[in-house]
């Protein structure tokens, strides 16, 4: 059993009909024998032994807590990693992970009641991670709202990266401060113009895109679809991190299916093989996919 180190609201997102009473939180979890975790991987979290809500919830890992394990300690020096009131954020209590979450439903609302010392059940790390071999290219990370989660760790692994971060308003850009401390180029956009450029983050992408770019994106399905379209048009590599409802997280229930283009469909003149499964699982085959693989019309 892992233990809660801290749980604090970082942004109050106003109530909307489709998202409910929002708000962004950071949850620190102490995790003994912390396994290696790659940028893009996730965990399945269970917060208590209740049967309602029943299922675990998937959360991307935002940060690694504790020295040595954090990629930023290497690239930016200890001080840039987690200084909070002169101490490390874990209060010397690492190892562990930090989850950045948005309150979207019953499960996440109950999570806001977690107190330091409470037990939580963590399954993971699960899924694949962002491919890193394309380092020589000019990396553009595109995040929408809570889609910022995988990019803190990813930024730590990349020598040079640019972050384009979009949200509905200034209250929809969680952990912006963390990224300001990193030595990366960052541009921000909001729908209402309350901070950064007024408009969509894809507008920023169109401006920054070059032939040498590689795009990593995480955000709403609508945003990802548009990012994929732009990248395809520019003929540059694009990797997206998808978020689907899931039950098991380990490829057993086949619940988090996403439709992919079959090999037959991509190959020239080939008949689409019927035996080839056209659905992939976000939990096991993802959450990171090559954007060209996804059947975006059915997202």
């Amino acid at each position: 059993m892992a233990k809660v180190l801290y749980n604090k609201r970082v942004l109050a997102f106003p109530y909307t009909e489709d998202f409910g009473a929002g708000g962004y939180y950071k949850l620190g979890i102490r995790w003994e024998d912390l396994p290696p975790i790659e940028p893009g991987q996730f965990i399945m979290l269970r917060i208590a032994k209740q049967i309602d809500p029943l299922l675990r919830r998937p959360f991307g890992v935002y940060k690694i807590l504790g020295h040595g394990a954090c990629p930023h300690t290497k690239n930016f020096g200890m001080g840039a990693c987690l200084p909070v009131r002169g101490r490390t954020q874990t209060g010397g209590k690492g190892p562990g992970i930090e989850i950045l979450y948005r309150v979207v439903g019953r499960g996440t609302r109950l999570m806001t009641d977690l107190k330091p010392g409470d037990s939580v059940d963590v399954l993971g790390p699960l899924g694949n991670s962002f491919p890193l071999e394309i380092r020589s290219q000019e990396v553009i990370m595109v995040a929408g709202g809570i889609g910022i989660v995988p990019f803190y760790m990813l930024a730590g692994k990349l020598k040079k990266a640019r972050l384009l971060f979009g949200g509905r308003s200034k209250d929809d850009l969680p952990a912006l401060e963390d990224f300001k401390k990193l030595k990366i180029d960052m541009e921000v956009s909001t729908d209402d113009g309350s901070v950064g450029e007024k408009g969509l983050v894809t507008g920023l992408l169109l401006k920054r895109l070059s032939k040498n770019s590689v795009v990593y994106a995480c955000g709403s399905k609508g945003m990802l679809k548009e990012v994929a379209r732009i990248a395809e048009g520019a003929d540059i590599p694009c990797y997206v991190s998808l978020d689907n409802a899931m039950a098991c997280g380990i490829g057993a229930c086949l619940g988090c299916a996403v439709k992919v283009k079959g090999q037959g469909a991509r190959g020239k003149g080939q008949e689409k093989q019927t035996s080839e499964l056209i659905y992939k699982m976000v939990c096991k085959d993802g959450p990171v996919f090559d954007a060209r693989e996804i059947e975006w019309e059915e997202i």
Binding site: L55, I250, C253, L254, G255, V258
Partner: protein
């Protein structure tokens, strides 16, 4: 201790064999059960569709601790399944519309079964078809495959030759498909019943008359979920199957009804989260149980339930778990 082991046990009927009498002095309860000739080390199995092909869970729990693994439902040809979203959580449960996605019986035998056979647990293969012929074809292939302890026939599947009416909702269709499959396999044949019926006893009888060796129940309850704001169904398929703690009372009732109606061994399924839940199913007549949705919540739950059943027997001085079967006090 040392009481009559047959008490409360339905020793009569097909395939329920007597096992060796445990030493009355021993405090270790006899947890083994025999379902239609399949000798299980304990009464705990994992339910079809909730445990993949076993390999998905192997990194997280000890498969050797299970009585049996029931694999994801197989069809003759691979199946793509339904469009997403395929799952949605509901009050104390979940709806799924996976649509029976599977690798097909051939790929299962070639790529999945060899791994499962490495473990000291029984492999029960769940299968289905769109037509009686399809069911028979799959059964034929499985019948000649080594390493399979028994077959579980999912009859909650629409029949393309009968206006997509589900086999398991009609006694006639149930009888026809089960008796057809019966001719193609000597393996123990478990028929898995759908709860979406007017009277479970009628279907249970039809399956028994057609030659089933055991019955498992229940499959998921038909249901749906809607978003009040977008007015859209929450599942891509609109309709799905409800599972989890929410369905346990329905499942208990149906096992009890079947127990009173047919003499076949029963496997209880539906919302089992704890050893107590499992024992309740045995009390109403299940000889063994399957754990479904709970695997998603806790990958080790099946092992914990097996341990919990043993503990319950020890504490309550029950020499053999079989004593519990059908011991409801009414």
């Amino acid at each position: 201790m040392g009481r009559d082991l047959k008490m409360g046990v339905r020793g009569q009927g097909s395939g329920v064999r007597k096992t060796k009498t445990p030493n009355p002095e021993s405090r270790i309860p006899d947890l083994s059960v025999n379902i239609a000739g399949i000798q299980l080390k304990n009464s705990v199995m994992t339910a079809s569709g909730t445990f993949g092909y076993g390999e998905e869970y192997a990194p997280y729990m000890n498969l050797n601790r299970l009585g049996a693994v029931v694999v994801k439902g197989l069809s003759l040809k691979p199946r793509q399944g339904n469009p997403p979203p395929r799952i949605v959580e509901t009050a104390a449960g979940m709806l799924n519309s996976i649509g029976l996605q599977n690798v097909g019986v051939e790929a299962f035998i070639e790529k999945k079964l060899p791994f499962l056979r490495k473990f000291d647990t029984k492999v029960i293969v769940n299968f289905f078809g769109d037509s009686i012929d399809d069911y028979c074809e799959v059964a034929k292939v499985l019948d000649t495959t080594d390493g399979i302890a028994g077959l579980e026939m999912n009859i909650s599947c629409p029949n393309k030759q009968a206006g997509w009416l589900e086999f398991g909702t009609n006694p006639d269709l149930t009888f026809r498909v089960v008796s057809a499959v019966r001719r193609f396999t000597k393996l123990p044949l478990i028929v898995k019943l759908s709860p979406n019926v007017m009277d479970i006893t009628v279907i249970a009888k039809a399956a028994a008359d057609a030659g089933a060796d055991a019955l498992s129940l229940i499959n998921t309850l038909s249901g749906m979920a809607v978003d009040a704001y977008t007015r859209r169904p929450k599942l891509g398929n609109i309709i799905g199957g409800l599972s989890g703690p929410a369905i346990k009372p329905v499942a208990l009732k149906m096992v009890w009804q079947a127990f009173k109606t047919v003499k076949l061994p029963l496997i209880g399924i539906g919302g089992i989260m704890t050893a107590e839940d499992a024992i309740e199913f045995m009390i109403v007549g299940a000889s063994a149980i399957q754990i479904g949705t709970a695997n998603f919540v806790d990958p080790q739950v099946s092992v914990k339930i097996a341990d919990g059943i043993e503990e319950y027997c020890q504490k309550n001085k029950i020499a053999a778990v079989k004593e519990l079967v059908g011991s409801l006090r009414v």
